[in-house]
Symmetry: C2
Subunit: 255 residues, 2 copies
């Protein structure tokens, strides 16, 4: 069965896309087959994988009802495929109305995907708690919350957890937050260490052991259209995301 | 007449809130009276100014049609007042429909504000190009776009400019992008310098002379509920935002 994880935080710049792309690559290095679903009209993950001409990408399932399988694109990254996003997604949020059936569209299509083709599905969400994000939360079973190690990022975590809880109660009983990942941790600053300590004290075991350190190589990698594992395999960024992938794999349920 | 500026970028974590709060404080130091309007359901600017119990804040104009003046709160910061946001704003985006009249609500209320009470109105926007942001763009005359000095931030600038142009053409002929501000510039990295050079080559005079450098004091200030001018007046963050304020004041039209 596919392990489906939404990467979610309405706080902007928390490291969602950087985590989606690099965690996917590290899981792929470990022999896992990963489907990345880009649900953000900004299409940062799509650009990062160098997808040319995504057309309307995943917008098609909201507008034309195309099957997801037809939208899957290969990438140059071992084990990783992508369902691209595009700016057209912005329009999907405008035409859909806020009602349960609009929130369940993605879930229907995800349920029709062949279960044996991928081990992981990672959904990169936009920085909102809007309709696209709601669709992600109904389509997946787990939520990974990346959190920038800064004070302004702290209140948003409770808000995500509350949204997850609301959706779990009413529309997706299997949904749970599985990991909170401290990101962009600048180990030289007391501020970052304090924020991470605050996360650990507040959320306990939900917080990953691994912390993703601030590393400019992670910011440079997108310009080269490569995940960190290919762009700079020895960087701190690569080490940290590999360690995160190991931690996530260790949480896989035995068959 | 109030100089009204929307601080906008749908790319998350580009420095919108950090710019709204600290630019307001620096303008206030210069004897300008500044009204900050927090239009983000995350209410980061509201929290930063230490506003207790904002209630529904600015949501009231979308839902109950309360006059803006009744929502204004004083702050401890010289020259600065705030119209707070709250998580209720999330609900406003759900109930409003995407049509011109829903996009003009904020503008009507802003037009009714007393013109002599403030010199500047800065609107802190959420990381979206949704209904709240559209309301901001119809209510103001200028747009300031903060841009993080990283590759992933680059495509978003064109998207903001295109949205501004669409709104200018159809719904607000006075609207224009007045400044693009490079933010979180880490001067030690070539990457940041390259991204800033790319911004200058692409957008020319729209890009501010001043670049806001990465400075952990700016990330710490919100925890102390103080703008950088009060939290650490000698920091690079304070110097850079003061320089930005001077540049913005220099662009004021003579009476
Ligand atoms: N560990 C890191 N070290 C250095 N830079 C990083 C790191 N993680 C992310 N970044 C950079 O920080 C910025 C924000 O990261 P990213 O775009 O992944 O966040 P996001 O949550 O997806 O943003 P959005 O809310 O806009 O979707 C990007 O410019 C990215 O390159
Ligand atoms: N020049 C800077 N130096 C250090 N940290 C900064 C700087 N500017 C912003 N930050 C930090 O970067 C993060 C993102 O900044 P900020 O919240 O202002 O961006 P934003 O565009 O308002 O985000 P959102 O899209 O969520 O509204 C915050 O944690 C903030 O404290
Ligand atoms: Mg992203
Ligand atoms: Mg903000």
């Amino acid at each position: 069965e596919v392990r489906s994880i939404a990467i979610l935080n309405q706080k902007g710049g928390s490291g969602k896309t950087t985590t989606a792309v690099n965690l996917a690559a590290c899981l792929g290095e470990n022999g896992r087959r990963v489907l990345v679903m880009d649900l953000d009209p900004q299409a940062s993950a799509t650009d990062w994988f160098g997808v040319e001409n995504p057309g309307r990408g995943i917008t098609d399932i909201f507008v034309d009802r195309a099957p997801l399988l037809e939208l899957v694109r290969a990438t140059d990254v071992l084990g990783v495929a992508i369902i691209p996003a595009s700016a057209w997604l912005q329009g999907a949020e405008k035409v859909l109305r806020w009602e349960p059936k609009s929130m369940k569209i993605l879930g229907h299509y995800v349920d029709e995907l062949p279960q044996h083709q991928w081990d992981y599905m990672l959904v990169d969400c936009p920085p909102t708690l809007g309709l696209l994000t709601a669709n992600a939360l109904i389509a997946v079973k787990e939520v990974l919350i990346p959190v920038e190690a800064h004070h302004l990022a702290l209140p948003g975590v409770d808000r995500v957890i509350a949204s997850v809880e609301t959706l779990r109660a009413h529309l997706n009983h299997e949904l749970r937050v599985s990991t909170i990942v401290p990101c962009r941790v600048d180990p030289r600053t007391r501020h970052a260490r304090r924020v991470v300590a605050e996360l650990r004290s507040r959320y306990g075991k939900l917080v990953s052991q691994v912390e993703i350190r601030e590393n400019v190589r992670l910011a440079e990698a997108p310009a080269h259209k490569q995940p960190i594992t290919l762009f700079d395999s020895r960087s701190k960024g690569a080490k940290d995301y590999r360690a995160l992938a190991s931690e996530i794999i260790a949480a896989e349920r035995p068959l």
